[in-house]
Symmetry: C2
Subunit: 154 residues, 2 copies
Amino acid sequence: MKVVFGSPGTWSGLLLRTGQWVFAGASIAVMLSAFGFSSYTAFCYLIASMGLQALWSFGLACLDIYALKVSRDLHNPLLVSLFVVGDWVTATLSLAAACSSAGVAVLFVRDTNFCTAFPQFSCGRYQISTAMAFVTWLLVTVSALVMFWILTSD
Amino acid sequence: MKVVFGSPGTWSGLLLRTGQWVFAGASIAVMLSAFGFSSYTAFCYLIASMGLQALWSFGLACLDIYALKVSRDLHNPLLVSLFVVGDWVTATLSLAAACSSAGVAVLFVRDTNFCTAFPQFSCGRYQISTAMAFVTWLLVTVSALVMFWILTSD
């Protein structure tokens, strides 16, 4: 199997995975610190989805560290297939969470006067958290494409 | 190249493409008939995204009919690569549109009393249109996976 940027068990792979769980964790932290988020299903779903993403990416980052430490090659078809399925599923869930939150955030900020009428709600944090979820999705999509590339160019 | 369910230029492929543009068109029609949709960015984006999806799928359905009529084989790598990219892009946009609309629809129906407070807004139609967008996304994802399968198992 080819070793390309973002391959499992490489420094670039570790960097990509770390970026994923850091952004997912930051998205959760910002949302949790925003007043009133728990009243809205989309924002709660964002936390759940980013939580799953952070767990998945953190687990794979640990696996990368282990592989780098003991110089083990993670390029076997079974393992890469597992990464492909996991990455595609979590990427889809992350995109769904980011988009539903974006829909609600845009509704609050642009479509209605909610944010000016109720300044106690943390509209800015809703937007920052959503933006971070989109960054997480982008990074996971890169991983998913790389894994698929590795698997099919076998 | 393999011929599997949903391959371009086959009856199953034509059925899949027809399902896509019919559901995308129905989603647009239901949303356009819903009172007050134009005030919400997410619903307007749903119409734009489903419009693009309907055009893409309708075009490919016409190509399938042409291929069936003149018994032409559409399984060449360049054409299938084009289908893969188009399907993945439109599938991602459709999922984004369906999820952002779902976020807003759930906000109206469950999180707030908007639908009971303003019964003149067509909350039921917002939900039906969003559900149809999800069906469209599922059908496009099937197409995208089939195209990718055909391309990689070349």
